[in-house]
């Protein structure tokens, strides 16, 4: 049980660090939309990868779980693309 908790904490700390790091880059490159778009895609990719690693470490990884993470990652990207194409001038 303790081992499981340690796995969870380590995983969430890593995920938080990636999220904080990507937010800092997003804020620092507020003038460059291309870099911001790349960061969004990389963050989604990292989230899917870390989700898979986390479940693998917990020994409960299934193909359905992999698909679920890919779908949520894709949902995040598709909403951002929708916002960019709908809300921007071109």
């Amino acid at each position: 049980m303790i081992k499981h908790s340690e796995h969870h904490i380590g995983y969430y700390i890593s995920l938080f660090l990636i999220f904080i790091f990507s937010t800092i880059i997003m804020l620092n490159f507020s003038q460059n939309k291309q870099i911001q778009a790349s960061i969004i895609v990389l963050t989604a990719f990292s989230y899917v990868l870390f989700g898979i690693i986390h479940h693998k470490a917990m020994h409960d990884l299934t193909s359905k779980i992999v698909i679920e993470y890919i779908l949520i990652g894709s949902l995040g990207i598709s909403v951002v693309i929708f916002f960019i194409t709908g809300g921007f001038l071109s």
Binding site: L15, F19, S22, T23, M26, L27, S30, Q31, N32, K33, Q34, Q36, I39, I40, T43, A44, Y47, F50, G51, H54, H55, D60, T62, K64, I65, I67, E68, Y69, L71, I72, G73, S74, L75, G76, S78, V79, V80, I81, F82, F83, I84, T85, G86, G87, F88, L89, S90
Partner: protein
Amino acid sequence: MKGFFCHLFLPQETNNYRPKIIHHSSLLFLIILLFLFSLYAPFLKKSYSGVLGVSIGISSQDLLLLTNKKRQQNGLSSLKLNAELNQAASLKGTDMFAKNYWAHTSPSGTTPWFFIKKAGYKYVYAGENLARGFTSSEDVINAWMDSKSHRENILSKNFQDVGFAVVDGILDGEVTILVIEELGGMNPIVLDRKSAFNESVAKQNKAVEGVKSSSIIKAPILDTLSFSKILAYGIFLFFIFIFALDMIIIENKKIIRFVGHNSDHILFLGLMLLFIVIISKGVVF
């Protein structure tokens, strides 16, 4: 009807203890729908340009009034709209689009002072504020006032004149609206607080007369910026709520499922929501 909504939004036996809305098929359907809309959005905006588009209201008159309002609130004299500084701002905007840069100094080393001199304004003091990605004059002035260096320019006692340019074009491959504010002072004599108060709003309006103004005003029937922002926020908040609700119910009922961690999804969707807030903000320089 109630059963249908419960099936859609709450984990229960009929949906294998996972709300139907977060099943793979539902998520895939929504992703395809969003991608299709994103693909056709530019064509729709071009075909129905009067109906669909981004609502924009930036004009040099509004920028002047708002700038002077901020100055008056701080006990300073009003700035006068100056034709030469307007021209300098316009030249700067044209140069930024032509050479594709977003900075006070061009890649070839041209400073803002070059454009001010070229326009024929003989300054003792000069300053420049830049903004991009904004859709209203109020937002531009507020962003400048929130930034220390831009605020110092707006509230400087050294300036008596101001010029604006609101120009649109393609910068870094993206259609962009640039707002350029050139500030100048020919007279090194600093006005005191008392004389600043004596200047009336009527004088401000008088200063605008005879000087060509720069503005971009667009008022489509459906503002796609507000629409897509509300929808994007709504989608993220909705799924965050559904995942949180699902997590609470499943925890309480102590049901064992082999699915992804809802907490991961909530964190990720929350971060994407934050990213939309960041990218939707204009920037000043």
